[in-house]
């Protein structure tokens, strides 16, 4: 690690102000950022810890929506939403290991937008809203490719507002080493709409599989997915854990399984 300054503000405003100073970086659970620092792959002058900001923590149930503070850990989501929004709870409960879940936050995961992370699938798959210190960003606008989001340099995610789907499920196929998603598919039914969001697979990060959405809106069943061609293999990530054709195939299999799990 290189040397850095460390500040721990109490409010979002103070944190944003601190981030405006040059070469500063927000620190949430540190489950991505700390390993990066330890390997000397990043050299921020200052870390702005978000851990002292109470406003970022906790889960609020509203009318048909659930709002999760950006600083809420995966473990808290897994525990508190197990009864009310089981698809989100299950997704959170399958991230990493207990240590990662007890430190890592939803805000950190979304800001990082790792192409194999789980949360982006849920956010895009439900059409959630990412709330920041200055605006609200629709999921469809938030994710902009590998490790890229709509966030500005000094912008802080404060919460994520999820519509509560009538039925939803996340089917994840683990990358054998990291156990991030080799392919993860979040399927949600909201009113007449069906959303299908895929993480882990595409070279452009999380994406909506629109053919599957259309097919499922007509017939919400695994058979409807079975009839589809998988998404184009050449747009999928190819690495030692799976070539593009394998990932494309898994998108279809995991979509079927997510639909089946919706009951």
């Amino acid at each position: 690690m290189y040397a850095f300054e460390f500040v721990k503000p109490k409010t979002v405003e103070e944190a944003v102000a601190a981030l405006r100073e040059s070469e500063a970086k927000a620190l949430a659970g540190g489950q991505t950022l700390i390993p990066t620092l330890k390997q000397r792959l990043a050299a921020p002058e200052k870390l702005v810890s978000l851990a002292g900001i109470e406003a970022l923590k906790g889960i609020r149930m509203g009318d048909g929506v659930v709002e999760i503070g950006a600083g809420t850990t995966h473990a808290t989501v897994a525990r508190e939403l197990a009864g009310s929004v089981p698809a989100l709870a299950a997704l959170a409960g399958d991230i990493g290991d207990p240590a990662v879940r007890n430190r890592g936050t939803i805000g950190g995961s979304l800001a990082n937008n790792d192409p194999s992370a789980d949360w982006p699938a849920a956010v895009l798959g439900t059409g959630a809203t990412v709330v920041t210190d200055r605006r609200e960003i629709a999921a469809d606008d938030f994710f902009q490719g590998l490790f890229t989001t709509a966030l500005e340099e000094d912008e802080i995610i404060t919460a994520v507002r999820f519509p509560i789907p009538e039925a939803a499920a996340y089917a994840k196929f683990d990358q054998p080493a990291s156990r991030f998603a080799l392919v993860g598919v979040f399927v949600a039914r909201l009113g007449g709409d069906v959303r299908v969001a895929v993480t882990g697979a595409s070279e452009n990060g999380v994406f909506r599989w629109q053919e599957a959405e259309a097919a499922l809106e007509a017939d919400f069943s695994p058979a409807a997915v079975e009839a589809l061609a998988p998404p184009p293999a050449e747009e999928m990530i190819s690495d030692l854990h799976g070539a593009g054709d394998y990932r494309a195939h898994l998108v279809k299999v995991m979509t079927k399984r997510a639909v089946a799990a919706c009951g």
């Binding site: 690690m1 290189y2 196929f173 054998p176 080493a177 854990h241």
Partner: protein, 791 residues
């Protein structure tokens, strides 16, 4: 009721309390006064010429004590290789210099180019980044077949090619084997890869060098499985320090699996530099460094052919292997694909004719050396895979074809056509036990139940043999070993009767501190807690060769038994004197000496006290004191064997394999502590299943290590494994060591990979998918691709 003490008692590990409460003392826990820290600049290219190396900016940085480059080691030797192989043409293997730091050329990613010693690790790392290095990249050779082609880039410019050696066993049989295969009614062949693995001991390597100017003594604290071997290699061949001025300490070591046998550049560096800078120098490997500097394992590419008659009897076996050495020869690298691999090709079978050819190849990759099983897993894998394929091609049951070809119990000692003499074994017995425990009869019902859930279920078996406790020294010397393979123990009886055993072997997960006292407790009849095992320090244990190859109890334990026998013999003399009886009438039982046929007795502690307070003592015939040392050189290897079975489920849609059950029946001869043996087998199975399904080192065509962290190198986790059934009730005791023990450390890792692969292929075949082989690791992607290619 199991015994509660002595040999055979499942007593709990005394090591666990300190390990589980964080009070173990590992090398990194040691901090010496005035200690400085070293960080290394390592090559980030696989092959290149160092054009420019400028350390001046680094040397001027805050906290930097000194920067070292290859130039500082001009008067220092290279890292020696401990085993010389002779090629088929009679020439010795190619043995290029293995320098402490790259001399002019880098040959693998991770090779050391320079080192910075500074006040803190952070300052050392900052300065490493300030070293200016310019490397002209050369084409890298990664693939072994390509490395052997005419005109391939050479890893070592001064060698004629990338071939290290071309070895045959037994060369005189080559033509006979060829002929038998030519004329056989059936020949079954298989090409397979035994992939490269990273050992990944939980504790990364650490070295601390220290130098005492007053006494001119060097001390190296290191994460080693064999401190005496390190002292010998580093002292005599690298740094030129005589043994009496060099102490090597390997305290608690958190796993080795072979990777901590070898003498590494960092050890020599820290020892050497400590004297130069006049301060202790400490290096702690990061996990990333470990991936590119710990010797890696396996990496064989093999073609095996098995000839059979109409009834499925094995007639002849021929195998050709390319074995990757990496860029340099690590300490025991040449022994692994040869004497630890070719000699095992008979397996548990009567195959009359066998020929093994191994070509060892240099490539621009991290050196490869022994890793849990070392050669024996590679032998077992190819043999047990080709037998399964033969059974399928001949329409025979895989269990029956094995049984039919077993060496029978009345054939021991059995001389194989590949230079070993098995002293004892009963392969039918372990297989029968396996059939009972694995419930082969219930398989079909379980298969149907799996099929109802859309899963393909398969059953795999394997009957392995291995050779442990490598020996005897005079023979291995003829085979090219540059070391002896005895071991030693000093049994020091203290005045009040407690015992301290100084052993030449080393425990880094094997539980010697628990199991060795059980042996002495049994022999003398005193409680285990009266006995302490000391190991890991050349200053206080006799010269020993350390722990690997499942040799500790078979060789080190035998030395301890011999020393204890000397103790008992002397103690009987003292007891005879005290009891005024003749020595021949004295018996030792339950910690008491008695005169045969009388009620006269004297306690163990009274005898030991008399030895050290010799007031009433036969001083004219006997020296006082009670301390004995023995060196034990085994007459032969030991030959553990076993029969394994597992059931797997394959998800045909995703290719994912789940291991549903695993039964391991092992014949380890006599067992000292069955609970510890269970643990050794569990660990071995976990590693073997890791190899079968998950682990692999992958280099890209430029020699970059793609799997350089746990993001891409898949280690087995608890939930990848079923609950194991292990059994070691079939015991044919070793005939030539005093305890009748064989060793159990590697069995699980040797026996499990072919069992798993056999089961997966079985599952696919039963599901109508014609797949003959899939190379390890059987990742979901590979299994799915194989299914798709076959459909």
């Amino acid at each position: 009721m199991p015994k509660d003490h002595g040999i055979g008692a499942p007593i709990r590990r005394r090591e666990d309390l300190r390990f589980l409460t964080g009070s173990g003392r590992y090398t990194d826990d040691i901090n010496l006064p005035g200690q400085a820290y070293v960080r290394f600049l390592r090559s980030d290219v696989a092959h290149g010429r160092i054009k420019r190396l400028d350390t001046s900016a680094a040397a001027a940085m805050d906290g930097v004590i000194r920067v070292f480059t290859a130039r500082d080691f001009e008067n220092v030797g290279g890292l020696p290789c401990g085993w010389q192989i002779t090629s088929r043409d009679g020439n010795p293997m190619a043995e290029p210099k293995h320098p402490i730091m790259a001399e002019g050329k880098v040959r693998h990613v991770g090779e050391i180019i320079a080192a910075v010693i500074a006040e803190t690790p952070g300052q050392a790392q900052d300065a490493v980044e300030a070293i200016e290095v310019e490397i002209e990249e050369l084409p890298a050779v990664i693939d072994m077949a390509a490395a052997l082609e005419e005109g391939a880039p050479k890893v070592h410019d001064d060698l004629p090619s990338n071939l290290c050696f071309d070895w045959g066993l037994v060369e005189e049989n080559r033509e006979k084997v060829d002929e038998a295969i030519r004329n056989a009614p059936h020949v079954v062949s298989l090409e397979l890869v035994n992939q490269r693995l990273a050992p990944n001991a939980m504790e990364p390597r650490v070295a601390i060098g220290a130098y005492d100017k007053a006494t001119d003594e060097h001390t190296l604290y290191t994460t080693s499985q064999n401190p005496h071997v390190i002292r010998l290699l580093m002292g005599a061949f690298v740094l030129g320090i005589p043994e009496h001025k060099l102490r090597v300490v390997a305290p608690d070591v958190g796993g080795g699996f072979g990777s901590k046998i070898f003498h590494y550049a960092e050890e020599a560096f820290c020892t050497y530099a400590a004297k130069v800078v006049g301060r202790p120098v400490k290096w702690t490997s990061s996990r990333s460094e470990a991936f590119m500097s710990d010797a890696q394992g396996r990496d064989h590419v093999t073609k095996i052919e098995l000839a059979l008659d109409e009834e499925g009897h094995f007639l002849a076996l021929r195998t050709h292997t390319l074995a990757n050495m990496g860029a340099y020869l690590s300490t025991f690298a040449p022994a692994v694909p040869t004497w630890l691999h070719g000699t095992l090709m008979a397996g548990t079978y009567r195959t009359p004719l066998i020929y093994v050819n191994v070509k060892a190849v240099f490539t621009n990759t991290v050196p490869v050396d022994a890793y849990r099983g070392a050669g024996r897993p590679e032998a077992t894998f190819q043999l047990e895979r080709v037998i399964d394929k033969a059974a399928r091609e001949l329409g025979m049951d895989p269990v029956e074809i094995r049984r039919k070809n077993f060496i029978n119990p009345d054939q021991f000692p059995y001389e194989t056509p590949v230079a070993l003499v098995y002293d004892t074994g009963n392969y039918h017995a372990t297989l029968e036990k396996l059939e009972e425990l694995a419930d082969f009869g219930g398989f079909e019902a379980r298969r149907q139940e799996s099929a109802a859930r859309g899963r393909l279920r398969g059953l795999g078996v394997n009957c392995y043999i291995e050779a442990c406790g490598i020996a005897p020294s005079n023979l291995v010397g003829q085979l090219g070993a540059r070391a002896g393979l005895y071991d030693s123990a000093t049994v020091r009886v203290n005045p009040t009767g407690s015992i301290t055993v100084h052993t030449g072997v080393h425990s880094h997960g094997q539980s010697h501190e628990t199991t060795f006292p059980q042996v002495i407790a049994e022999m003398i009849g005193i409680p285990e807690d009266q006995i302490e095992i000391v190991h890991g320090d050349t200053a206080n244990s006799p010269m020993g060769m350390g722990t690997y190859g499942s040799r500790s109890i078979a060789v080190g334990g035998s030395a301890m038994v011999r020393a204890t026998e000397k103790i008992i013999a002397k103690a009987k003399k003292i007891a005879a004197h005290l009891l005024e009886a003749s020595e021949g009438d004295i018996e030792l039982k339950d910690g008491k000496f008695t005169v045969k046929g009388t009620d006269r007795e004297v306690a163990w502690a009274d005898v030991t006290l008399a030895a050290y307070v010799p007031h009433n003592y036969p001083l004219d015939e006997l020296e006082p004191g009670l301390e004995e040392t023995s060196f034990y050189d085994p007459a032969n290897f030991t030959f553990p064997s076993g029969a394994y079975a597992c059931e797997v489920e394959v998800d045909p849609e995703t290719g994912k394999v789940e291991v549903c059950s695993f039964v391991a029946v092992d014949d380890f001869g006599n067992v000292i502590n069955p609970m510890v043996v269970d643990g050794q087998v569990h660990g071995g199975l976990a590693q073997g299943i890791g190899q079968a399904l998950l682990e692999q080192c992958v280099y890209d065509e430029n020699g970059q290590l793609v799997t350089a962290s746990y993001m891409d190198y898949a280690m087995p986790r608890a939930d990848d494994l079923p609950s194991f059934t292990v059994d070691h009730s079939c015991q044919t005791p070793c005939t030539h060591n005093p305890l009748g023990v064989k060793g159990c450390g590697e069995a699980g890792a040797i026996g499990s990979p072919p069992t798993i692969v056999n089961a997966v292929i079985d599952a696919l075949q039963r599901g109508g998918i014609r797949v003959d082989h899939i190379d390890m690791p059987l990742t979901p992607a590979r299994v799915w691709s194989a299914i798709r290619a076959a459909s």
